[in-house]
C-alpha cells in the first residue's frame, strides 16, 4: 500500500568532497547533495559520517541540523558505527516529517542498536548477518528472528525494523542473487519491511552497466516485496524503474506524467 521508500546514499564520507566538507565544516557540498537527492525524490537521506571516533557526536549533530534546517526537517538515516554519534544526532533530530532511521543493527555486536532505536522511537535497519555473510536463508532467517524478537521485547513496532538481506555482489557471488530475492519474499510473507544497499550488486562493473543492472535487480526485488532501498536517487534509470514498479504494484495511482511527480 505504501510507496517504495527511497533512501538517498550520496552523503557519504567515502566521497572526497563530502569527506572534506565534514572535516572543514563546509556546508555547501553537503547541502548541494541533499538538494539534488530531495529533488530527485529521496524520502530519506542517509548521512554516513564514517566511524568518526574522535568527533562523531559533534559532527553528526552538525550535519543533522544543517540538513534539517535547510530542507524543512527532511527525514534522515543516521549512518555510523559510533553509537554515541547516533544518539547525539537523534538528540537534535526534528521528527515532524518522519522518525529517524538508525543505520544499522545486525545480529552480532551491533544488535544493541536495536535497543537504541527502541529507546528513541526510531526505525532501525537490521542486517541479517552476524559475523561475515550469512551462508544461506536459514541463517538469514535465524538472525532476522533474533532481531525481531529483541525489538518486540523492547516494545518496538515490527514495522520499524527494516530487514536487510545484504545485497551480494554479482561479480563473485552470482549464484547467491536468487537466494537474496527469495529471502526478501520470505520477509514480505511475514509482513516485514525490507531494505538494503542495492548498488552493491553491481560493484566492479563498468560505469555504464551499473544503472542497468541495478534497475533490473530492483524490479525483481520489488516483485519480491522489497519496501525500501538505499540508492542513488540521481540515477534516472533506477528512479524510472522504481516509479514504474510502484505503479504496477498499485502503490501509486497512474497518470501520464507519473515520472515527473
Amino acid at each position: 500500500m505504501a510507496r517504495f521508500t527511497i533512501i538517498g546514499e550520496r552523503i557519504h564520507c567515502i566521497s572526497p568532497s563530502i569527506r572534506e566538507a565534514m572535516d572543514t565544516k563546509n556546508p555547501e557540498p553537503i547541502l548541494k547533495r541533499a538538494k539534488e537527492q530531495i529533488d530527485a525524490g529521496a524520502a530519506y537521506l542517509d548521512v554516513n559520517i564514517g566511524p568518526a571516533e574522535s568527533n562523531g557526536e559533534e559532527l553528526m549533530k552538525w550535519v543533522v541540523q544543517l540538513i534539517q534546517e535547510n530542507f524543512d526537517n527532511h527525514p534522515l538515516c543516521l549512518d555510523t558505527a559510533n553509537r554515541k554519534a547516533i544518539e547525539a544526532g537523534i538528540s537534535v533530530y526534528n521528527r515532524s516529517k518522519g522518525k529517524p532511521i538508525i543505520n544499522s543493527a545486525d545480529a552480532g555486536d551491533r544488535i544493541v542498536n536495536i535497543d537504541l532505536a527502541a529507546a528513541n522511537d526510531a526505525i532501525c535497519l537490521a542486517l541479517c548477518s552476524k559475523s561475515g555473510i550469512s551462508k544461506d536463508n536459514d541463517e538469514r532467517m535465524m538472525y532476522c528472528q533474533e532481531m525481531l524478537e529483541r525489538g518486540m521485547s523492547l516494545g518496538m513496532d515490527p514495522a520499524d525494523l527494516w530487514f536487510d538481506p545484504l545485497f551480494l555482489v554479482i561479480k563473485g557471488m552470482q549464484d547467491k542473487l536468487m537466494e537474496v530475492l527469495e529471502f526478501i519474499r520470505m520477509c514480505t510473507d511475514m509482513g516485514l519491511n525490507t531494505t538494503g544497499g542495492l548498488s552493491n550488486i553491481s560493484n566492479g562493473m563498468p560505469k555504464h552497466i551499473r544503472p542497468i543492472m541495478d534497475s533490473a535487480m530492483l524490479a525483481m526485488a520489488m516483485m519480491s516485496g522489497l519496501t525500501s532501498a538505499i540508492v542513488n536517487p540521481c540515477d534516472q534509470r533506477l528512479m524510472e524503474t522504481i516509479k514504474s514498479c510502484d505503479i504496477i504494484r498499485g502503490d501509486t495511482l497512474y497518470a501520464d506524467s507519473y515520472l515527473e511527480v
Binding site: M1, R3, D251, T252, L253, Y254, A255, S257, E260, V261
Partner: protein
C-alpha cells in the same frame, strides 16, 4: 465480545480550500477520514451544499414548486439572492446555460455584467459554471475572473483541452479557484492536477470535478472513481489527489428522463417535480457517501434534505 471501535484517521488529509471572502467564506475539504466517517474523526468542514441558478432561468419551467420559490425574481441577481437565502445553502452556483454558442449564445460582455450583478447581490460564495463549450468558456471565465477579482470565486471547470488558458487567467492572473474537470477517469483526474500544478497553479487553488452521472446512469463508475481518489489521497498520501471534490449534481439529474418526462405522458410515474427531487437527492447523497466535499443542487426541497442529512451525520 464487546465491540471496540478502532478509529481510522489518516496522517494525510484533503486540502482545505476557502471559497468567497470574509464572513461569507465557506471552506471545503480538510478531512482525514473516509467519506462521512465522522465517528473516526469529527469533520473539520462539513460537506458544502451549493444552489444552482442559470442565467436564463428556464429550469423552473414545468416545476411549480421551484417556480414558486423564485416567483418575483426576474433577473439572475434576484434569483441568486433567493438561492443564497435557501434553507441549507452554503454557496451559489451561477451556470451560464445561455452562453452556449449552440443555444442562446449570450455574449461574453453580457455574461460578465450578469456575473458582476450576481456576485454583488449575494452574501454567500459564488461558483461560476460555464456553457460547456470549450472555447467560449475560456473567454467567459477569463472575463468573469477579472470582474470578480476580489471575491475568491470558483470556476467550473478547466478540462484537459483548455486548462492552460483557464488556469493561467483564473488562478494565476486573478487569484481565483479553478475546477479541474475529468469525466469519471481517475488517471486523467490525477494527470490534470499534475499539469495544472506544473503550470504554476497551487494545489490550494484547485478543486476537482471528477464528473458525475445521475443515479442509475452508470453511477457505479462515479462512486468507484470518487472512492479510489479518496483512498489514494489518504492511504497513499498522493499529493496530486488531495484537492477537495465538487460535484454539480443538478445539471446531471435534471436532464434524465425520470426528471423531464411529463406526467401526462407517464401518469403511472407520478409528479414530475417529485421525481426530479428524488433523482437529485439520491444522487447527491450517493456522491457524499463516495467522497464528495461539495454538491451543487437546484431544488429547495433537495437542498434542505441534503443539508439535513449532512447535519444528522456530523
Amino acid at each position: 465480545m464487546p465491540f471496540t471501535a478502532k478509529p481510522r484517521k489518516f496522517s494525510a488529509g484533503i486540502i482545505e480550500i476557502p471559497l468567497g471572502v470574509g464572513q461569507n467564506a465557506v471552506t471545503i475539504g480538510g478531512g482525514n477520514v473516509l467519506p462521512l466517517y465522522y465517528f473516526d474523526n469529527p469533520a473539520k468542514n462539513p460537506p458544502a451544499v451549493g444552489v444552482e441558478i442559470t442565467d436564463t432561468g428556464v429550469e423552473a419551467a414545468g416545476l411549480p414548486e421551484l417556480a414558486a420559490y423564485y416567483e418575483g425574481a426576474n433577473t439572475p441577481a434576484e434569483r441568486a439572492k433567493k438561492a443564497a437565502a435557501m434553507e441549507g445553502a452554503d454557496f451559489v452556483c451561477l451556470r451560464f446555460e445561455g452562453a452556449d454558442p449552440g443555444g442562446l449564445n449570450r455574449s461574453v460582455a453580457d455574461c460578465v455584467a450578469i456575473a458582476k450583478e450576481v456576485v454583488e447581490a449575494i452574501n454567500k460564495p459564488l461558483v461560476i459554471a460555464g456553457s460547456k463549450n470549450l472555447e467560449k468558456d475560456v473567454e467567459l471565465f477569463s472575463a468573469c475572473a477579472e470582474v470578480c477579482s476580489d471575491k475568491n470565486v470558483l470556476f467550473l471547470s478547466a478540462r484537459e483541452e483548455n486548462y492552460k488558458t483557464i488556469g493561467a487567467s483564473c488562478a494565476l492572473a486573478y487569484g481565483q479557484k479553478v475546477g479541474a474537470e475529468s469525466s469519471v477517469d481517475i488517471n486523467l483526474a490525477k494527470q490534470l492536477n499534475v499539469l495544472m500544478t506544473q503550470l504554476g497553479v497551487q494545489p490550494q487553488s484547485i478543486v476537482m470535478n471528477l464528473g458525475s452521472a445521475a443515479a442509475g446512469y452508470g453511477f457505479e463508475y462515479v462512486a468507484s472513481t470518487m472512492e479510489r481518489v479518496k483512498l489514494a489521497a489518504l492511504e497513499q498520501n498522493d499529493t496530486m489527489l488531495q484537492m477537495p471534490v465538487i460535484t454539480p449534481v443538478a445539471s446531471e439529474t435534471w436532464s434524465v428522463k425520470e426528471s423531464i418526462m411529463p406526467e401526462s405522458d407517464m401518469p403511472e410515474w407520478g409528479s414530475l417535480e417529485e421525481r426530479g427531487i428524488e433523482m437529485e437527492t439520491v444522487t447527491a447523497s450517493a456522491c457524499l457517501a463516495s467522497g464528495c466535499d461539495a454538491v451543487i443542487l437546484r431544488h429547495p426541497t433537495s437542498v434542505k434534505a441534503i443539508a439535513a442529512l449532512i447535519a444528522a451525520l456530523l
